[in-house]
Symmetry: D2
Amino acid sequence: MLNRVILIGRLGQDPELRHTNSGVPVCTFSIAVDRPQSSQQRQSGAQKITDWFTIVVWQKQAENAARYLAKGRLVAVDGRLQSRSWTDQQSGQKRTAIEVVAETVRFLERSEQSGQPGDQAPAGGGFSYGQEISFPDGENPDDLPF
Amino acid sequence: MLNRVILIGRLGQDPELRHTNSGVPVCTFSIAVDRPQSSQQRQSGAQKITDWFTIVVWQKQAENAARYLAKGRLVAVDGRLQSRSWTDQQSGQKRTAIEVVAETVRFLERSEQSGQPGDQAPAGGGFSYGQEISFPDGENPDDLPF
Amino acid sequence: MLNRVILIGRLGQDPELRHTNSGVPVCTFSIAVDRPQSSQQRQSGAQKITDWFTIVVWQKQAENAARYLAKGRLVAVDGRLQSRSWTDQQSGQKRTAIEVVAETVRFLERSEQSGQPGDQAPAGGGFSYGQEISFPDGENPDDLPF
Amino acid sequence: MLNRVILIGRLGQDPELRHTNSGVPVCTFSIAVDRPQSSQQRQSGAQKITDWFTIVVWQKQAENAARYLAKGRLVAVDGRLQSRSWTDQQSGQKRTAIEVVAETVRFLERSEQSGQPGDQAPAGGGFSYGQEISFPDGENPDDLPF
DNA sequence: TTTT
DNA sequence: TTTT
């Protein structure tokens, strides 16, 4: 009934852009979120614990994420948790994945440079540091293409 | 760096209480969270989609959750997302589970009656409708006992 | 850049429905949110502390809130914080109010009965317990009518 | 019963550190949070709308905030909303302020340099970019010293 | 009152 | 798999 997730973390890899059968863009990437350590833990040299989450964005912000985000970038994600179940073909076991479907993705660092040749911010400053990628879809008639 | 999840949903089964090797109580349960449907979807008779999430609570609130919650109860959970990875013994595959470690669990319905014989709210009203279960642990030296 | 608020509380009064000059419905109500008390505080008979917040909902959910909510009802609100400044006519002082603009409002209790004569849930179950009021506006060209 | 706020914004001024009568450190600062604009609004040259919020942090993180934050810095705040009422001495009117009591404050930008002479990060890297300020108090026996 |  |  209520379902809200907010995360700040860094992309572990460049984002991946796909399209549903009907052509709707979907972008996925994973982010690393460090678990808070007490100063005691830090001082004792305890190893840092990192949680990894899969983020899914749709439509326009999918395209923007694919264009402007890259491995290592820091982002803030505001969205909802979603569970997806399927039967593993190999083992016949039922498995479940949990992903964060982002409503908004905020870039928390200026991308000094495009990670890929040809990647350019639109003229006129259409896309810049700290800007909201756009707005969520919320209702996607199509299944995820993966 | 920032990791926050808020969910409202209903328990799919009675909660399970376990203890770590060092005796720390941990309670787990899963909740069903209905995905919002547009009124159009509702009217068209589209089937309701439900996401299932595993909730983990520690220490005192673990004991309280085990005592006062039961299948079907409505709760609000405020916590953080956590990923846990392991290698499946069967297939040798690496797998990951994502759980919500609750800081607070709120009961949103009066429990008309205890689900288990012997379950009683403490005298003096120590535990009542809409009350916070207690406070989070945040730093659990022990691994999950499962 | 990121702005998210989630509250669960009870209406202090019946909601008020107004309309902007261009006819857009806006509903406001205030909710009481109890501050968590430690069991120690409770046992020591410390008086309960309650925070009061103003909730603003727009458009369709404004109408629904006005129709189905009433003093005393328990709701979950997911939205964003907003500050509004004006100059007090009396004193000439600049003042600021902070409100929660709700994206979604969830009814956490079945409304056993309408609070007002004539208030009826639409036939066909269009509006029921635990349902999302509708979806947010997000962009309101008109100022608040108060 | 549930009360959660997450904000990302920039400090409008340097933070202020005070102490309660019993010596507990409290730090306050205000942050500017830009309201999202559609690209249409941006292109039409609509003026940016900014909401201002007061953040309150206690104890250790109060000291850290006072030491490491400064006007203009970008922070993520995770906390709870609080209302505070008092009677204005001038007018005799009852007034209310709403503040965000931060549980955690994250610095989202490297502070290239201390804003104040004498401000130095502790040797040994005790306090660095992207680190959590510390943990909240939650129960402050003393009133705010202002 | 901030910043890009 | 990230980053400081």
